[in-house]
Point group: C2
């Protein structure tokens, strides 16, 4: 008995001491005021200091991110709070407190260009892409170098283009804008002839992104005016010399995804919003005088409102910069901080992670879309031609952001209305100054949106086949 | 011996178990995967979940914030990184790796309107004002209600005005812009007469903020043109009827801090950038058709680029909204998230914390400034008249953001040059279309900037007195 007791004493003490040591290690590594913590990474162990002022914000962000909304909605830090609870913002066609209720008769919205297809990538890369903004982060109008642009962001943009091989940025100037939207307008101002007797003519090739016309008309400057389709303009002004003209070239084109080049060969604004490997093979670096890019269609962050122009000529660069300064006194410093973090993730492993994810997603969507349209004679979509992609180093088909649908039946000359009747919201051809026999379907929205679009398209096409069979 | 041993076994085991229990409690409350943590607050104890994806970003932010830069500079998350170290960005007149080196001959820069005087407030409120932005935060162009404006931010702006009592927002529309800058321009577009035979005349009372003229001239619209000083315009156009005119009224005025009202009484844009208790007594709520405010001069966050317009008329509201949409497709969602967090701090305790801090700072600066200028006959500054402030519920002097200095000696008709010779950078009167006998000194920059300004002013004034004595 005494022996057992002693044995117990001995064993218990030993095990107790072992446990103490284990706890001590755990305590040491897991924190407590000022101690260091082990952070978990897959292949390495890093030390992390314990947190003070940022911890509450981090806990808030994680708590909101943990609200699932049934996978059919999202809760954000700035979502409505009701009775102390953050309210789920449900995706289209879903409702209820937790977004679990699907409306079976709901139309698929393939209208807008919200690039939510990339959201899962950022959720998978949550740790790498999060930022903490302190209350005193960059309160000044300017950076330390007296500019309004972060030189670190500029560095990463140049690195990105060099990795992707989609644009020459060496010996070029960069200007940041509020999305590409602001830069489109700034570019027209910069290229138009001041103090000329007549305003510069602004043109774009049909079908074109409507913003060019909207902005140019809205700002109603004495220095320029919108003159519509490039080819028509060329035809009507063939005999006139020295006409001052600014040509928009959207490549790949919105809405139809085609790679385009200048028709007139004069002053040109290249809108390269979609010139990324997920949408198009990259045949080589674009090398034009004025090229505009946007974060929106690169990383999917439309809400961030960030774009950039790559400019060859110093005088044009100064005019575009002046526009940004006069319009807004520069771009939000918070935005630039977030852009920097996102770009750091994009360029990791030479960009393979984001672009592989994004391209796989777009290719899968096109495969599914094709399989539906291949069964249809009533609807067709744009032809796609393979090209060698320098980035992926293989020949591949483009996988554009939008399907450009044609209604083939002669009597169906309003394709948007035909689709709408089939519970699909599209954008009609006339939005792009094309015929309404065409309509644009967005393929870059959320998975829920795309899945519903596919369902509605399948229903439409089966109806058509049913009809054919019944003849 | 045996007894001692047994005693030791017993005591050691007991103490070991006690230690185990203590460690267990500590481990439980201090974290480990999924356990809860005690957070420290002065008067309460709260549970905090342990962090996962946000922890790295939080640690990065705290590490950068911990770099002191000798108190004469700042390191940011997006500062340059050199040899693995974040580089200090030194304030004007300071240099060296840790910003500890002061340049004794350096000029005091009192030119710009960077509102850094509020930075210490946000450092003191670090925990409350920090935000964590996830990689997937609001990627869409729009909020759940299909607008581009956060309804939560709108709610807090209305609450703020109601607390401060500086503007009526009931039954008014709000529109957000990129700083007030963009809204100034949007307002001119909204108020100008489209399709009129002649452009609207835009005027402002001298001395006026130069942006009004710069923007109006730069955008060179067919719908409006800048026509200079309001009073001159009134004099020259006294006999003409039905002239279409848009009047800018800046109240308190930049540069001289005066509370102003409309001269013409027609279409008016009230620029209320400085209508906050730290700069002026608040005599009562402003109740005009179109009022513009900016975060920059409220919280000091110029770099955030956020402003808002309060608009009575629905048609004008729609035009201003349209402008923001056409120009940029809305305001950054990150910016709006940050604004929300900052406004939540501002409205805490009915706004007393921020406004007390800010007013105390401005009053102290004015007291120090007055004591220097009171010894001078060579320089004078604007007179200030006491008014009842509804917010602080007392009669007090204004404490404007800028000193409007006059050089009194007849031969010194370029006051900016006189100050420059005394190592003070100001903005000359002609910047505001006033005489160069005047110059503006910024009083809202960092403490280092203000201290150096005071030093240089004291040197200048002692020189003057020395001269007088030597006569």
């Amino acid at each position: 008995m005494e022996k057992t007791k002693k044995y117990c004493y001995g064993f218990c003490l030993l095990s107790s001491i072992v446990i103490n040591i284990l706890f001590s290690i755990n305590l040491y590594v897991s924190g407590g005021g000022g101690a260091l913590q082990w952070g978990e990474k897959k292949h390495e162990t890093v030390y992390r200091p314990s947190l003070t002022w940022s911890e509450k914000a981090a806990a808030e962000a994680e708590a909101v991110a943990a609200i699932s909304c049934s996978g059919h909605g999202r809760a954000y830090l700035d979502s409505l709070i009701s009775y102390g609870q953050t309210v789920c913002e449900c995706y289209d066609c879903y409702g209820g407190i937790d977004c679990s209720e699907f409306s079976p008769d709901c139309s698929a919205d393939a209208g807008g260009g919200d690039p939510i297809f990339l959201e899962p990538f950022w959720m998978q890369n949550a740790e790498k892409s999060a930022i903490v903004v302190s209350g005193w982060h960059r309160m000044s109008y300017r950076y330390a170098d007296y500019t309004m642009m972060s030189s670190e962001v500029e560095k990463y943009i140049r690195k990105l283009h060099s990795i992707v091989g989609n644009a020459i940025t060496e010996d070029r100037y960069l200007v940041f804008g509020i999305g590409s939207s602001q830069l489109l307008s700034a570019a027209v101002y910069a290229l138009s002839s001041e103090n000329s007797s007549s305003p510069s003519n602004v043109v774009a090739t049909i079908p074109y992104y409507p913003m060019y016309e909207t902005q140019t008309s809205f700002f109603n400057s004495e220095d320029f005016q919108f003159e519509g389709d490039t080819n028509s303009w060329k035809l009507n002004n063939a005999t006139k010399n020295n006409m001052d003209v600014i040509e928009f070239v959207t490549s790949p084109n919105n809405p139809d995804g085609e790679l385009k080049t200048s028709v007139l060969g004069g002053k040109t604004i290249y809108d390269h919003a979609y010139l990324w490997p997920h949408f198009t093979p990259i045949p080589g670096p674009s090398d034009h005088d004025l090229m505009i890019f946007t974060l929106s269609k690169l990383t999917g962050h439309a809400g961030v409102r960030f774009g950039w122009a790559v400019i060859k000529d110093k005088d044009v660069y100064e005019k575009v910069s002046k526009y940004i300064e006069v319009a807004d006194l520069g771009i939000s410093k918070d935005t630039q901080l977030r852009v920097l973090k996102l770009l750091k993730v994009v360029v990791e492993d030479d960009g393979t992670q984001l672009f592989k994810f994004a391209y796989a997603k777009m290719r899968e969507r096109w495969d599914r879309l094709n399989s539906v349209f291949s069964k249809s004679t009533r609807f067709s979509i744009q032809e796609r031609h393979p090209l060698h992609c320098n980035f992926f180093n293989k020949t591949r088909l483009p996988s554009p952001a939008y399907a450009w649908v044609k209604c083939e039946r002669e009597e169906e000359d309003d394709c948007g209305a035909v689709l709408e009747a089939g519970k699909i919201t599209s954008r009609g051809g006339s939005t792009y100054r094309a015929k309404d026999r065409y309509a644009r379907l967005s393929l870059i929205k959320s998975q829920d949106d795309f899945d519903l679009l596919l369902l509605r398209l399948t229903e439409l096409v089966s109806l058509e086949n049913g009809k054919i069979e019944s003849i």
